[in-house]
């Protein structure tokens, strides 16, 4: 179980057509399980890149990330995949539900390829009830509203009981009211399940409600302070 994530001198650059773009530079941060952290900053400041690195979706160009002292990214792809399954739940701005699967089937996707101790189907229904979609289990994504789709995505992110939830602008495609409800849902999960939440957003109001607020600009951290709730 990863209790602590430590980023040391983290950097990420992209090379395309001979031009090198530095998306991240010299990031030194520590995240603890149970913390609710918001990352805020303008477009292109490197928030999402940072999230994808912490979430093992991508490899850093420089520096390292340790999960309880272990460098996961140096391991095989299969080991990394297993780490993601055991530790991490992702929530994306575009929801990324599989269009051909129903809400329940979408929630069950992380479990398709793994053996677990609990009843998969029962667990899927349970998390959908938890996010308030007990009546939409057999609907296709195209039959759901944006807020409902994002709640399905959240249910999918928590179905395998991860220790960390990484949310990439989860409210970015939603209206203010729905966005706030999704935020509250994440907050609730953080309290009840004690999972660490790292939450990227454009919205300073939502960010201010977090335990900790990291502000980024041009690929670097410019401030790291407690949120209003602290």
């Amino acid at each position: 179980m990863a209790i602590e994530i430590i980023c040391t001198e983290l950097g990420k650059s992209y090379i395309g057509d001979g031009v090198t773009t530095n998306a991240l530079q010299n990031i030194n941060l520590t995240f603890s399980k149970g913390e609710f952290t918001a990352i805020i900053g303008p477009s292109g400041s490197g928030k999402s890149t940072l999230l994808s690195l912490i979430g093992t979706l991508d490899k850093p160009t420089t520096g390292k990330i340790q999960y309880d002292g272990e460098e996961i990214m140096n391991k095989s792809k299969n080991k990394i995949a297993d780490f993601r399954f055991e530790e991490v739940g992702f929530i994306f701005q575009q929801f990324h539900l599989l269009p051909t699967l129903t809400a329940l089937e979408n929630v069950l996707t992380p479990l398709f390829a793994q053996k677990v101790a609990y009843k998969k189907h029962r667990r899927g229904e349970e998390v959908l009830e938890q996010v308030g979609l007990a009546d939409k289990m057999n609907s296709l994504p195209s039959q759901l509203s944006g807020g409902q789709q994002q709640r399905v995505a959240i249910a999918r992110a928590i179905v395998h009981k991860p220790n960390w939830l990484f949310a990439d602008e989860p409210t970015g495609n939603l209206d203010t009211e729905t966005g706030e409800r999704i935020f509250e849902l994440l907050r609730q999960l953080n309290k009840d399940k004690e999972c660490g939440v790292i939450f990227v957003t454009h919205n300073p109001k939502l960010a201010a409600k977090a335990d900790r607020m990291i502000t980024m600009k041009d690929g670097g951290v410019i401030s790291d302070q407690p949120g209003e709730s602290k």
Partner: protein
């Protein structure tokens, strides 16, 4: 996992139908080509050997004995009897002593000899003078020629007849002694042979030889030549060359000749009226070898290319599916799937389709077999299904490797991302825009180009072979036999490959459209008309066809050079015109995707065409079952018709 795969297919109905159609085309094609067509390489060779074997391989003749028809490799049926000597005993002995010669049987024409044929015995009772009226009717196959004559005979006491009727000539009438038999005179050609050699060759062993240069021809049997293969042909050519070099005589290789019905015109000569045209079975030298070679190339090439095109289709289909689901796979990786689980997923999908194809093929073969319309070897039966399965399994290899290159990070990316920004042309209008799209997706365009260009190149090659064979294939008996046997298989294979090519293009264009829904919606929003969109998409399809035409024809000319070491200057225009076919295929394959693009409304998002509505599912099931039954029924009916 199988349920996951099934849902993905079932709820993506349009693509699923395409997938099933592709599987049906491949299974029908393989069933016909591998399972049912008896005309494979082996049977052609057997047929040729059984039906057209000559007792000798090479004929040696004296210089100057060639006739004008031999310029087109055509020999009179009785060409040997027209020669009177020209080869000396010394030359004969030289040939006989050469290596590789198993039998050298000489033949010497001696000349015509008359002989009587006894008809009926005269039985006369009374003495007196008798008249015998004789009418001879000769049928030469065209008309009957008759001649009549009267002969007078005396019958009675020998001494009286001897004294009074010592042969007196009055006009045309003779009066002579009575004959015992009624007879006609016939003439025949006498030929001298070497009994020992002749016995070896055909088993005839009583004859004599006369003169200084008495031999007209020597028939050679070469040791080690027992079947119709290219090795035999090479050996014969070598032996024939040796004979020519050492004796200065003419040689002709008769192995693999075929009878060829030949029309001859007999004009009016002096007081004889014109006989008109008549047909005789002449001998076409070297025809079997030519036919055998071409038929072998044709058939083998066809089956290989059908399988190749099928694999390319499965690749394309797998690749399209991979592209369409790239985000989905990235997401599955992000939620903890292992990369090898994705590969397994793709292999499983392909295997399911492969099993489906194998079962359909076996069902079709089984039905044809049960209805008693064809005999079937167990090995062929097994092979047909296995080939289908292998095609799908092989087709999954590249997508399964590619899926491992997907990074889970791709779930985070949004908007247009391209690592390169190269454009060959500036976008100035519809055509250049279509061209840039086409080049921008060159990897997948390449797949449809390969799928189209393979059958195209074959088409060109077959047309060329047909032209080359025009003289042999349709005039000799053997050629007619082969053409009749091979023709339907050629056409079936060509149609199957072309259908698969259309499907490949349709799949790829379908995916291109799916990826550009928003773009097309935007184009419509800024005022594009339906016909502009249609034109844009069809132009892209046409570019695929055009490139396929160029590649296909290059391949054709390459193969021609490889096979014949010659460039078809005479037929160039004709072969170039086959380039229209791939362009048409490119267009036809794009029609449905283009119409789909036209239907995109300006305000359409990425909602997609996915549906799990009960009514739609029920209708879909019915449509699918009906289509399956119709296709299978139609196919079996066709096969029964063809086989019968």
């Amino acid at each position: 996992m199988i349920r996951f795969i099934w849902r993905n297919w079932w709820r993506n109905k349009e693509r699923f139908i395409l997938l099933v159609v592709g599987a049906l085309v491949i299974s029908s094609g393989l069933t016909y080509l591998i399972g049912l067509s008896e005309t494979n390489k082996g049977t052609i060779v057997d047929e040729l050997q059984q039906r057209w074997s000559a007792s000798y391989d090479i004929v040696v003749r004296p210089q100057g004995s060639r006739t004008i028809t031999e310029e087109v490799n055509l020999l009179e049926p009785n060409y040997l009897s027209g020669l009177s000597g020209g080869i000396s005993i010394e030359q004969y002995e030289k040939i006989k002593a050469m290596s590789d010669i198993e039998v050298a049987a000489p033949i010497a024409m001696i000349g015509y000899a008359d002989y009587p044929v006894k008809l009926t015995e005269f039985e006369l009772e009374k003495e007196g003078i008798y008249r015998v009226h004789q009418e001879v009717i000769n049928g030469n196959g065209i008309k009957e020629l008759s001649s009549s004559s009267n002969n007078y005979y005396a019958f009675g006491d020998w001494d009286i007849l001897q004294e009074n009727l010592s042969i007196e000539v009055r006009s045309n009438n003779y009066l002579g002694h009575k004959l015992d038999y009624l007879f006609v005179m016939r003439s025949m050609l006498l030929a001298g042979i070497d009994p020992e050699q002749e016995a070896k060759l055909v088993g005839l062993d009583k004859s004599i030889i006369i003169g200084d240069e008495p031999i007209s021809a020597i028939r050679i049997k070469v040791a080690g030549v027992s079947d119709l293969t290219e090795e035999s042909q090479q050996l014969l050519e070598q032996v024939a060359q040796n004979i020519e070099n050492e004796t200065g005589l003419l040689t002709d290789i008769t192995l693999g000749s075929s009878p060829q019905p030949t029309l001859t015109h007999v004009p009016a000569v002096t007081n004889q009226e014109e006989l008109g045209w008549f047909q005789q079975p002449w001998v076409k030298i070297g025809s079997s070898m030519t036919i055998f070679k071409e038929a072998k190339i044709g058939l083998l090439g066809l089956i290989v290319s059908v399988i190749a095109v099928a694999i390319v289709y499965v690749w394309a289909s797998g690749l399209v599916s991979l592209l369409a689901r790239r985000k989905e796979f990235a997401l599955l990786l992000a939620v903890g799937w292992r990369p090898n689980q994705l590969s397994r997923l793709l292999f499983l999908e392909s295997s399911i389709l492969g099993v489906f194809v194998a079962i359909i093929s076996w069902m079709m073969l089984g039905f044809v077999y049960v209805s008693g319309e064809a005999t079937l070897s167990p090995i062929r039966f097994l092979l047909t299904g296995l080939f289908g399965f292998m095609v799908y399994l092989l087709g999954a290899v590249i997508p399964a490797l590619l899926v491992r290159t997907i990074s889970p990070y791709e779930t985070m990316r949004t908007g247009e991302i391209s690592n390169t920004s190269k454009r060959l042309l500036k976008t100035r209008g519809l055509s250049s825009m279509a061209f840039n799209h086409f080049i921008g997706k060159w990897k997948r365009s390449l797949l449809s180009i390969i799928a189209i260009s393979l059958p195209t190149s074959l088409l060109g090659l077959f047309l060329y072979i047909t032209i080359r064979l025009k003289g042999v294939m349709y005039t000799t008996w053997l050629g007619q036999y082969v053409a009749l046997e091979v023709g339907p298989v050629h056409y079936a294979a060509m149609i199957v490959t072309l259908l698969i090519a259309i499907l490949t293009t349709a799949e790829i264009m379908w995916q291109n459209i799916a990826e550009r829904q928003q773009e097309i919606a935007l184009l419509k929003a800024v005022g594009w008309k339906n016909r502009n969109v249609r034109f844009l998409i069809l132009t892209e399809g046409m570019f695929s066809g055009l490139f396929a035409a160029i590649i296909g024809l290059t391949l054709t000319f390459g193969m021609m050079w490889g096979l014949y070491r010659q460039f078809p200057t005479e037929e160039l225009l004709f072969i170039l015109s086959t380039g229209i076919v791939p362009i048409l295929i490119g267009l036809v394959g794009t029609i449905i995707p283009a119409e789909r693009a036209v239907r995109i409304s300006p305000n359409q998002g990425m909602g997609g065409n996915f549906s799990n509505r009960k009514a739609v599912e029920r209708r879909m099931k019915w449509v699918l079952i009906t289509a399956l039954l119709l296709l299978a029924g139609g196919f079996i009916y066709t096969v029964i018709q063809v086989v019968a």
